[in-house]
């Protein structure tokens, strides 16, 4: 994982390559996502980039009917809502991401604890393409 630096934007550079990165503390083994220069547990500066498996489970979610400005530009609205949630990775840490392939018409049917696998979603058109993290049921 030497290709990626600790700079926060490299999280998205890795994502464009289909890779979910974070960091591991070489002193206390604590994992973080996105990658951190300073270990959130022991506060040391001895961290390295790691790659996650991309497997996780849903720990909280919402189905958004009034979208962010950016998501509205991507075509989401009250009639075309999307799901976003917090995903706890198999390795431990959690991250926010869009959740694909769930029942948007019946949010009651979306279950916390659902096993998920990472994917990416690409928005925008040429010149302004953005690759974002997403998960779908596994």
């Amino acid at each position: 994982m030497e290709n990626y630096s600790m700079n926060s934007n490299d999280f998205y550079t890795a994502l464009e390559n289909g890779t979910l990165i974070g960091s591991r503390c070489l002193d206390c083994d604590t994992l973080a996502i996105p990658q951190r220069q300073i270990c959130p547990k022991c506060l040391g500066s001895n961290t390295e980039i790691v790659e996650y498996s991309g497997k996780g489970r849903l720990s909280a979610f919402t189905v958004v009917f009034v979208p962010t400005v950016q998501m509205a530009q991507y075509g989401y609205n009250a009639k075309n809502p999307y799901c976003v949630g917090v995903v706890e990775l198999e390795e431990g840490p959690s991250i926010s991401a869009q959740i694909l392939d769930v029942d948007l018409n019946q949010p009651d049917n979306i279950k916390i604890g659902t096993n998920l696998i990472m994917t990416t979603v690409t928005h925008g058109d040429d010149g302004n393409v953005k690759t974002l993290l997403a998960f779908k049921p596994n």
Binding site: I33, F61, T62, V64, P67, T68, Y82, V84
Partner: protein
């Protein structure tokens, strides 16, 4: 011994409030002047010459009005120059934090008299731009980019809470109904209507237009119908969300020993705490706000009081789930009991734990930078027995405010006492 490093006590010697709402012809300075004049009228002992500093809570006049550096502008506008001024930004907790910082400045001995303000003019932008401006209070790089909105964050906390404790959406409806009932009794509130009033007016409007009249039987029935209460971010619907608001509030803070030279009815700031946190995914669980627990712990410890000593509380109900979580974070109810307590009416004015007698952010309105000081205005009125039709019985003596920035990246809790 309680943890109290303050060198001397601090009192609130007067308060002022503007009407909260959507006011096309009023900007930040007009709103602030309205609140300031309310202070001058309600506090006969107020003397501008005695004010030594001005602390202003304001989230983002730069985004809402393209005007930064608001503190000296407002101070000058009411004739307070050349006293030192500063603007404090901690998202929706800006003026709750400003209040604490002003109190610390007095407690240190630096000042005897500080004017604390809070103001936000939000309706100058359209709703999409307001949403975008508010979103800058969250982690834009890693959370907003994923598609999270502010209602979405709290909605996600709601799903975690419902899953953990088996709560139903009905509990959220009860928070909204209760806060609208309180707001309907507050002449400063943005919404002077109960949910029942709103439901009846929608029925009436449908009848007038010759459309089929909705058959809602009661408020719960109305709130459960997406036609009456459209979904914003499931499970948070329109009536779970505080509105976009314009408004201002002021409080006059003075050192304890000179309070009686300003007013016969000071209230004393006997506890204060503040804490911070990272984004949602960094937290151990999503059905509590750790910064609120920590700020509350500090404030209780300093005041040498516990949750059972609080007679009245104004908590940060930016969304209905937030009020339920706040009542647990502050220890008013045990973990997992807050939702049932809301359904059982324990947080109503007549209940054992009155919360948000002002109508809260939900019904009074949420001009974000004004909210923290606005909460103190209600505590002042309740403790001094001047809250009118919504006045609590039993002569409340201890009041608490809980003001949250973002989704709990900032929380400040302040406790006040009446001694007369």
């Amino acid at each position: 011994m309680p943890e109290n490093k303050w060198k001397r006590g601090v009192a609130v010697a007067g308060v002022g409030l503007s009407k909260f709402g959507a006011f096309k012809n009023k900007n930040s300075r007009d709103l602030f002047v309205e609140a300031y004049q309310d202070l001058m009228q309600s506090a006969p002992g107020y003397d501008p010459q005695r004010v030594e500093a001005f602390y202003l809570g304001n989230f983002s006049s730069d985004q809402f009005e393209k005007q930064a550096h608001l503190a000296p502008i407002l101070a000058s506008w009411v004739g307070l120059s050349p006293i030192p001024t500063l603007r404090i930004e901690d998202a929706c907790a800006s003026s709750g934090v400003a209040l604490r910082q002003a109190a610390l400045a007095i407690a240190s001995g630096q000042y005897d008299v500080v004017l604390v303000g809070g103001v936000e003019k939000m309706t100058s932008l359209d709703i999409a731009a307001v949403t975008e401006a508010l979103a800058t209070a969250a982690d834009t790089q890693f959370e907003v980019s994923a598609g999270f909105t502010f209602p979405g964050f709290y909605a996600a906390m709601a799903t975690a809470y419902m899953k953990e404790y088996g709560a139903s959406r009905d509990a959220f409806y009860h928070v909204s109904i209760k806060n609208h009932r309180n707001g309907a009794l507050n002449e400063f509130a943005q919404f002077g209507q109960t949910i029942q009033d709103i439901m009846e007016s929608k029925k009436k409007r449908a009848a007038e237009k010759g459309q089929p009249v909705p058959q809602w039987e009661n408020e719960i029935d109305f709130l459960g119908d997406p036609k009456g209460n459209p979904m914003i971010a499931w499970p948070m619907a329109l009536f779970d969300c505080s509105p976009v608001s314009d408004g201002a509030a002021v409080a006059l803070l003075v050192s304890e020993e000179i309070a009686s030279s300003f007013t016969d009815t000071p209230i004393y700031m006997i506890g204060s705490g503040q804490a911070s946190d990272g984004a949602l995914p960094e937290r151990e669980n999503l059905f509590s706000i750790p910064a609120a627990v920590e700020a509350g712990r500090q404030a209780y410890q300093m005041a040498d009081l516990g949750p059972d000593d609080i007679d009245v509380a104004e908590v940060h109900d930016c969304f209905t789930i937030a009020e339920i979580i706040a009542t647990e974070d502050l220890g008013f109810f045990a973990r997992g009991q807050g939702w049932q307590a809301a359904i059982d009416g324990k947080t109503a004015r007549e209940g054992s734990r009155p919360v948000n007698t002002s109508g809260g952010l939900k019904a009074k309105g949420h001009p974000v930078g004004a909210t923290g000081v606005g909460q103190v205005v209600e505590i002042w009125k309740q403790l001094n027995g001047i809250a009118g039709a919504r006045q609590l019985q039993g002569n409340p003596k201890i009041g608490l405010i809980h003001n949250v920035g973002g989704t709990g990246q900032t929380c400040v809790v302040n406790i006040f006492e009446r001694r007369t």
